[in-house]
Structure formats: C-alpha cells, structure tokens
C-alpha cells in the first residue's frame, strides 16, 4: 500500500482494536458525560424552566470536559512501549498517522456522546427541535476538540505532569467550540435558525483538520527527543 | 484644589487603586528581571573565573 494516506487505515484499525479490548476504559468518557450532566439538576433544581435554559451550556460543557478524559491514553501507552517511536520511524507521513490515531480516539470517546446526547437533552427538558442541532453540532465540534486534545496530549506525553497541565493547555483553545456549539443548540431550542454557529463550527473543523495534524506530528517528534 | 484632585470625583479608590497597582506590578517586573540578570551574570563570572584557574 502506498500513497499519501498509506498507514492511515492500519493505524486506525489497530487503535480501534486495542480500544475495544478494554471496554471499561472505552466507557469512561461516556459515563463521565452522563455523570456531569446529572450533577447539574442535583445542584441547581429539577425545575424544567431553569434546566431548559441552561441545558445547551451544560451539555456542551460536559462534552468538552469528557473529551479531555481519555487523552493521556492517546499517546501514553504507545510512548511507554516504544510503538510511538516505531510510528515515527515507519516512513509513513507522520501527520497522517497521528490523524488516524486521533480519529480512532474520537470514534471511541466522542462518537458515543453524540449518540446518547438526545437522551440527556430530554432529561434536561431541551425541546425536541433542538436535538438534531445538538447531535450535528457535537458531530462536527467534537473532532476539533479531539484534535486540540491530541496536540495537548502529544505536548505533555512523557512529562509525567498528569492531566492538570493538559487541561490548562487545551481548555482555553477550545472555548470557541463551546461558544458556537452551545449557541447553536440555544438558537434551535428557541425555534430559530441555528445554521450560523454550525457553519462556524464546520469552518473551524476544516481549519483544525488542515493544520493540527502537522502540529500534533511536530509535538510527537518533540516529545520523543 | 489638591483634595479635589485626590478625591477624583468620588472614584478615588478605583482610580488611585488602578494606577497604584499598575505602578507596583510594573516595578516588581522590572526589579525582578534586573535581579535575575545580576544573579546569572554573577554566576557566569564565578564560573569563568573558576575555569581560568584550572
């Protein structure tokens, strides 16, 4: 197999297979997502009016935090057993390979959130008209979160600093996604057209897809030095 | 006249607080940078002197 995308499928399949072997770890971001969402009604009040108003922010905030959760696994174990170095030396284009790893990570940790989001939305009394926007927004917003997270993970791999530094690096960069994503859901819930924020999310995704794999690859090279 | 000026139309605490805080932070930055520079210069000089002896 050759061409610029060679290696993408192999790495993607390998990472997915590895992830499915540890279903417990796979379920963590999803459980975390549900847990955070459940904490707010307990802390605020079960009043539908209030929950409906804050639901977009809660759901998107929970998605943002969940996306940080499994990031240390992204490069951590590969770094320790040396397979990350093998990837770098494999002769394939490293940005493509890290994109494959990030994609696998997104499929495992973010895609389930998209699927259960309507369930949680209904628990927060978000009107049904907004569910589609929520799912679509998460679908095009969480890949950017995964890419930003992968860059943070690559920069902190091997430092032994834990997830606090990772969150400090990633969360400020991820604020636009939170703003546009939550605003889209908010607009849809009020019966307005949410297409503007969704376009912005898509634009940011294309920017992230074209630039961040290069940055992630560079970060992996730096942390292997 | 002077007390009017110091009074700042009732905003004294806010205006003088802002200017005072700014002056303090700018000074601390300058002094800290200078002190760090002097320490490192002294360190380098000691090291070079020690090297010359050996």
């Amino acid at each position: 197999m050759s061409g610029p995308l060679s290696g993408f499928g192999v790495v993607l399949a390998r990472d997915l297979r590895l992830a499915f072997r540890r279903p417990g770890e796979m379920a963590n971001p999803l459980l975390f997502f549900i847990l955070i969402t459940a904490i707010f009604p307990l802390g605020l009040s079960p009043e539908p009016e209030l929950l409906r108003a804050v639901a977009p922010g809660i759901l998107w905030g929970a998605a943002l935090l969940s996306s940080l959760l499994a990031l240390d696994l992204l490069f951590g174990s590969d770094y320790e057993d040396g397979s990350l170095e093998q990837l770098v030396l494999s002769g394939h284009s490293l940005p493509v390979l890290v994109l494959a790893k990030t994609t696998a990570h997104w499929v495992v940790s973010a895609l389930p959130l998209v699927v259960v989001a309507p369930l949680l939305a209904s628990a927060l009394y978000l009107p049904q008209e907004a569910w589609g926007t929520l799912m679509l927004g998460l679908l095009i917003g969480t890949p950017t979160l995964s890419l930003l997270g992968a860059m943070g993970a690559a920069l902190t791999t091997g430092l032994g600093t834990g997830s606090a530094l990772l969150s400090l690096l990633v969360l400020p960069l991820a604020t636009p996604i939170l703003i546009f994503g939550a605003r889209g859901v908010d607009l849809a819930a009020q019966g307005m057209d949410p297409v503007g924020p969704l376009y912005l999310l898509a634009a940011i995704l294309f920017l992230a897809l074209s630039l961040l794999p290069l940055a992630i690859a560079a970060a992996v090279r730096i942390s292997l030095d | 006249m002077l007390s009017d000026f110091l009074h700042m139309g009732g905003y004294a605490g806010y205006v003088w607080g802002s200017f005072g805080l700014t002056a303090a932070v700018l000074l601390i930055n300058l002094v800290g940078a200078k002190r760090q520079f002097k320490q490192r210069l002294a360190f380098v000089r000691r090291r070079m002197a020690a090297e010359d002896k050996t």
């Binding site: 960069l173 | 000026f5 200017f19 932070v25």
Partner: protein
C-alpha cells in the same frame, strides 16, 4: 541581508546590542509614562458620563493592548525559532511570557476596578475582560509547559509550538467572545469601552501606550539577556564580559 540577520541572531551580538539599548528604552519608558500619567490624571477633562472614573483607561487600555502585543511577539519569536532553529528567538519568546502575563493580569485587575463603579460589580462578562481571562490562561499554559520540560531545547520547541497554535486561535477566540457577548449583553451593562474621546483625552492615552511599549521592550531585553546568559553559560565569549 541574510548574513546580517544571522549576525544579529548571534547571542554575543544580541547581548551587547541589548545592553546598549536597554537604558535608552528605559529612560523613554519612564518619561513617557510619567507624562502620560500627568496628562491622564490632571490635564484630561473628566468624561461627561463616567466622570473621573474613566481615567482608569490610561492604565487599562495600554495593559490590554500590550498583553496582546506580547502574546503576538512571543508566538512570532517562537515561530522564527522553530522554523530557522534560532535559539535566540526562543530566548526572546521565553522572556516575553512572564511580562505578557503581568500585563494580562493588570488588564483584568484594572478592568475590574473600572467595572465596580460602572456596573456595580467587580466582574462582568464583558467581551474584553473575558478575552483577557482566556489570554491569561494561554500565557499560564505556555509558562507551565516550559516549566514542565527539564531540557531547555525541548521546552523551547514544545512551548513554541503551543504558542504558534495559540496565536492562530487568538483571533477565533476573540471573535467568538465578542459574538457571544453581543448576544447575551441585553440592556444591563454599559460596555467597558472608550468613552467618546476628545483630543485632550487621547494624547495621554497614546503617550501611555508608547510608554508601555518602551517599558515592555526594556524588561524584555533584560529578561532575554538573562536567558542568553543561562543558555550560553559554557560559551567562550562570556569570558570577555
């Protein structure tokens, strides 16, 4: 041109040039800031709406401007360092971060002191304050990443990469926060903006901004010289100091 570029980027040359320039910029900063403060506190008339409270802009706006300038300069220097592998550029980027973080802190603190009489609360989710808060976290992230790397070369490249990604993101953050703020603002608060400004209010502000710029250059060069001393501690040229 290329030769002089590399000559400038040589640590001994930079060290000497900065040593020569620092007093000039320092004196200019002192004079400009004193004149601007006098102009802002004494000569400028009170604002018809905000009274004497508006005088806080003379420290708030220059701090906010310099915080953004510092981040841009830091990321530019880091980018130059990454692309052409110039260690001096990394030294400048590392030197800029703490000063930029101080300016960001000042913009937040003075904005809060300005907001209290204007809004009746120490903090409002004003667009500029919110952007500054995120910028503060960007600076702190950069400095923490540097601190977490023991090896200077690795710290340079890792933090430099973060700064470059950050500077691409800054306009997006800025725009998204402005947009978010304009949607949710409602009729509750006056924007923390420059009041309708007249000439005798404007010149002290511009003087302060240039003064803050000279101050930034002064401290930046002092810190960059410290960085050079630390990085070059085994070099022969230090013997001639």
């Amino acid at each position: 041109m290329w030769k002089s570029f590399h000559q400038f980027a040589s640590p001994p040359h930079f060290y000497r040039l900065a040593g020569y320039l620092i007093p000039w910029f320092g004196v200019a900063a002192l004079i400009l800031i004193l004149v601007g403060t006098y102009g802002g506190l004494v000569l400028a008339p009170a604002d018809y709406q905000q009274g004497d409270g508006f005088r806080i802009i003379y420290v708030h706006v220059p701090s906010a401007t310099m915080s953004l300038a510092a981040y841009t300069l830091m990321a530019t220097a880091a980018g130059i360092g990454l692309i052409w592998r110039i260690k001096l550029a990394h030294a400048v980027a590392a030197a800029a971060a703490p000063i930029g973080a101080s300016f960001t802190f000042l913009a937040l603190a003075t904005g809060s002191l300005w907001g209290k009489p204007m809004w009746g609360t120490w903090w409002a989710w004003d667009a500029r304050l919110t952007s500054e808060l995120i910028l503060l976290f960007l600076f702190l992230g950069y400095m923490s990443l540097r601190a977490a790397n023991d090896d200077t070369g690795k710290a340079d490249r890792a933090s430099g990469l973060l700064a470059v990604v950050g500077v691409v993101n800054v306009p997006i953050i800025h725009y998204s926060v402005e947009w978010w703020n304009s949607l949710h603002q409602g009729a509750t608060i006056i924007k923390l903006g420059e009041p309708a400004i007249t000439g005798d209010m404007l010149w002290p502000l511009l003087t302060m901004m240039v003064g803050f710029g000279c101050y930034f250059a002064t401290v930046l060069m002092i810190r960059a010289r410290s960085q050079v001393l630390q990085r070059e501690r085994n070099s022969r040229w230090l013997k001639d100091l």
